[in-house]
């Protein structure tokens, strides 16, 4: 065992309906530990208890040994002096964690200057060195709002680690990033143990845990379910829950029910020769798309390639520069959209029952359709008296699906509907969506940045990206004749 950097003994967290069972960990120099679990498993709370940033109302007990000094976990104030110097926290969604009115370089420089204690000129030089090393030469003069997610992640990493802290805690470092960026973050995190530090990562992404290696702890409802070396736990889990968690990885999902509609069914939407530019940049041109009833078409491509714009065009919410779009006859309510962030898609002040009532009344829908649909979606009737913020993200997204299905859609554009959900919930939600779409002959366009997920769920896929390459080999935008997959 190498020189221990971070040791936690019998760490517990209590309060506000949360209980984390005594948890211990031991991280030496060059070692990695990953806490894996779904939302509500308490993995983030453990990181916050170590840092001393637990939300009000939660208390912690136990003992911590940080770089040779002993601390009572409850003595939060004592650890504040360690922030940035011994303990570095890489925040969730770093594009929110950077000051929006300060340029990227200045946010790194202030860490070098005020945390590491360098002179003004030296701090500037150190920042320049950091930026070059992280491939951000041009980003120093930019504001956080002008940085991509991956760039913001690297700037935050440089700002957090400028103080030279040997222990790095990364809380959901890949949340909201697409697949290629995720790999870059893993690479970034691996720098710490390579340089002799210790890395504690909190994630719900099994792939990230696998790439980081080291020790893995699977948590569920505040309890350690399984723990051991990454290769072993993530290839051959010993517990039922561990197997379920791994089974929720898209590549291991069971195949969706086959598309049964007639091969010559009229497509719910047909578009020919679509073109769109945004901000002087051509997003795509000569794009042909068609979606048959009950068909699931995946849409993939890097951030900013116009996936959501394409959806808005097909739904008639945005105009196209060229081309024509033809919908199957029917009411305009038959064109619907499912949003990425469920809480943002609901009015937060009203009970769910009231929100559904309003919808039914506004559009003269069958009230009797609600109960069976709720049962199909696994939604308990008691949830109706709660407000959107008081149920889980997975439940709320299923309510969003319920809300959309009540309108009997012909075409549903699902814009990353499960990217904010944890793997098990993601699988449940998507398989329900596919099943119900098949049953109701609703064409679905599913946007995701997870290629494995698209490959598993969709009948065919449309790859956007290089403007000139829409119909290249990657894009399986088929000829317009619909044929069952």
């Amino acid at each position: 065992m190498s020189h221990p950097l971070l040791q936690a003994t019998d760490l517990t967290i209590q309060g506000d309906g949360v209980t984390i069972a005594p948890f211990s960990l031991n991280l030496g120099s060059g070692e990695r530990l990953t806490l894996l679990g779904e939302t509500g498993s308490g993995k983030s709370l453990i990181a916050q208890a170590i840092m001393g940033t637990l939300p009000r109302g939660l208390t912690t007990s136990g003992e911590l040994l940080i770089d040779g000094t002993r601390y009572a976990a409850a003595d939060v104030a004592a650890r504040r002096t360690l922030w940035g110097r011994r303990l570095a926290l890489l925040p969730q969604e770093p594009w929110h964690a950077l000051d929006p009115t300060m340029r990227a370089a200045a946010q790194i420089t202030e860490s070098h200057r005020h945390v590491a204690g360098l002179a003004r000129a030296d701090a500037r030089q150190a920042t320049q060195h950091d930026l070059t090393e992280l491939g951000l030469e041009d980003a120093g003069g930019k504001l956080p709002g002008e940085l991509s997610g991956g760039m913001a992640q690297r700037v935050a990493f440089a700002a957090a680690s400028a103080g030279g802290a040997p222990i790095v805690i990364a809380d959901e470092p890949t949340k909201g990033l697409d697949a290629p960026r995720r790999d870059a973050v893993v690479e970034l995190l691996a720098r710490t143990p390579r340089a002799g530090g210790a890395l504690l990562t909190i994630t719900h992404d099994i792939d990230v845990a696998r790439r980081l290696g080291g020790e893995v702890v699977i948590l569920r409802q505040g309890q350690v379910v399984e723990r051991g070396p990454a290769q072993q736990v993530l290839s051959d889990p010993q517990t039922e829950y561990g197997r379920r968690l791994l089974g929720a990885e898209p590549s291991r999902w069971p195949a969706p029910p086959p598309l049964t509609s007639a091969a010559d069914a009229t497509p719910v939407v047909t578009a020919r020769g679509l073109a769109k530019s945004r901000g002087g940049r051509l997003l795509f041109q000569d794009l042909d798309v068609s979606v048959g009833p009950g068909e699931i078409v995946g849409v993939v491509g890097p951030s900013g390639c116009g996936k959501s714009t394409l959806g808005d065009m097909l739904l008639g919410l945005a105009s196209c520069d060229a081309g024509e779009i033809e919908h199957a006859p029917g009411h305009r309510l038959g064109l619907q959209k499912l949003y990425q962030d469920p809480p943002a898609a609901f009015s937060s002040h009203w009970r769910l029952s009231r929100l559904l009532d309003d919808l039914v009344r506004r559009h003269d829908l069958e009230r009797s359709a609600i109960a069976p649909l709720m049962e199909r979606l696994g939604l308990d009737g008691r949830l109706l008296v709660r407000r959107p913020g008081e149920i889980s993200g997975g439940e709320l997204q299923r309510f969003a699906i319920l809300r959309v299905l009540l309108l009997k859609p012909r075409l549903l554009f699902a814009d990353e509907p499960t990217s904010r959900l944890d793997p098990i919930t993601q699988q449940q939600t998507l398989s329900l969506l596919v099943e119900l779409a098949r049953e109701r002959h609703c064409g679905v366009m599913l946007v995701s940045h997870d290629p494995a997920l698209i490959a598993r769920v969709c009948d065919r896929q449309l790859a956007l990206g290089e403007a000139t390459n829409v119909n290249g080999p990657a894009a399986s935008a088929r000829p317009l004749e619909t044929a069952s997959a």
């Binding site: 929110h96 005020h114 709002g145 700002a159």
Partner: protein, 327 residues
């Protein structure tokens, strides 16, 4: 690196400035035309005989008779069509001539120049005083939302903002002039004369800006970037100075522009109450005497002041918030 930053900084600060200033200049022209037209129409449609009122303004109510009124009517061509008078005024305005007061016969611009200085002094003092009281109180309250200071200042702010300025002014006079005898109740000349009118205006301004500052600070202190600033090791003081102040100042400064409406409206009331010889005082007198060129001139200057002050606010925001410059 240093030279690079230095050479880039000024061009950054100036980018987008031209459009901003041109837009405000256009607005100023529009305001001048609209305010002038509106006051012209309004004074012409006021009930009562205009010539009679003007004559009363010149010779006093006891001395006026219908002969004097007729003389005024003939002299000022008030029986001629209004359109001609309007076009004449517009033509004069284009030549920056505001005309002469119908009562005193002095050029309007001279009278305004004199009074504007007094009003500006009062307004500047009120704004500075309100900035000393409001934002610091709000920032302190915002660091502990729902604390004693927050609740207390919220109550005080609601009461102060709900009271009209003349009521606040009267209460201050009763307290500081009548009961305590510390400050003069009205008048002009010494510094002591300006304290109560400035304070009357400042209290209501501070009431609003303290709440804006409080909300801004509460939002900043709950933001992810403020938390990150702490966990990356900057500590409470540096986090506040480097990331709290600027972000919390933005809404406070931006809202100041809206508050100037209150300031200009308050000046009219407060100057009358404290017998302060400023532009608001002059406006009230001009309306009573139907001194149309004076009314037009005063309203015009007030409108332009509003545009000018908002331009200053824009410039400060532009300097505070780098995001505006890229747009």
């Amino acid at each position: 690196m240093t030279s690079l930053t230095l050479s880039r900084a000024p061009s950054r600060w100036r980018s987008g400035l031209r459009g901003l200033l041109l837009q405000r200049l256009f607005q100023a022209g529009l305001v001048a035309w609209m305010v002038g037209t509106l006051t012209f129409v309004l004074t012409r449609t006021l009930p009562g005989d205009m010539a009679y009122r003007i004559a009363a303004g010149r010779y006093g109510h006891d001395m006026v008779d219908s002969a004097a009124a007729e003389a005024v009517r003939a002299e000022l061509a008030l029986d001629q069509p209004a359109l001609g008078a309007y076009l004449g005024w517009l033509w004069d305005l284009l030549q920056l001539d505001l005309g002469r007061s119908l009562v005193s016969g002095e050029p309007v611009i001279h009278e305004l120049w004199h009074q504007l200085g007094h009003s500006l002094g009062l307004a500047v003092m009120a704004v500075l005083l309100s900035l000393l009281i409001g934002p610091p109180l709000g920032l302190l309250a915002g660091r502990k939302p729902a604390g004693l200071l927050d609740r207390g200042s919220e109550l005080a702010a609601s009461v102060l903002r709900a009271l009209p300025p003349f009521a606040v002014g009267l209460l201050l006079i009763m307290l500081f002039s009548v009961a305590l005898g510390w400050l003069p109740a009205a008048g002009h000349g010494r510094f002591a004369h300006s304290v109560l009118p400035a304070l009357t205006l400042a209290l209501a301004l501070a009431a609003v800006s303290s709440r804006v500052a409080r909300n801004a600070m509460a939002e900043v202190s709950q933001s992810a970037y403020y938390a990150f600033s702490h966990t990356k090791g900057l500590g409470a003081r540096l986090s506040f100075l480097r990331h709290g102040l600027r972000n919390a100042a933005l809404p406070v400064v931006a809202y100041l522009g809206v508050q100037f409406v209150y300031l200009i409206e308050g000046v009219v009331v407060v100057e009358t109450l404290f017998a302060w010889p400023g532009i608001g005082h002059a406006l009230v007198h001009a309306i009573v005497a139907r001194d149309v060129p004076m009314i037009q001139g005063t309203a015009l200057v007030m409108g332009l002041m509003f545009v000018a002050l908002n331009t200053v606010v824009d410039l400060i925001c532009h300097w505070l918030d780098p995001r505006r410059r890229e747009a």
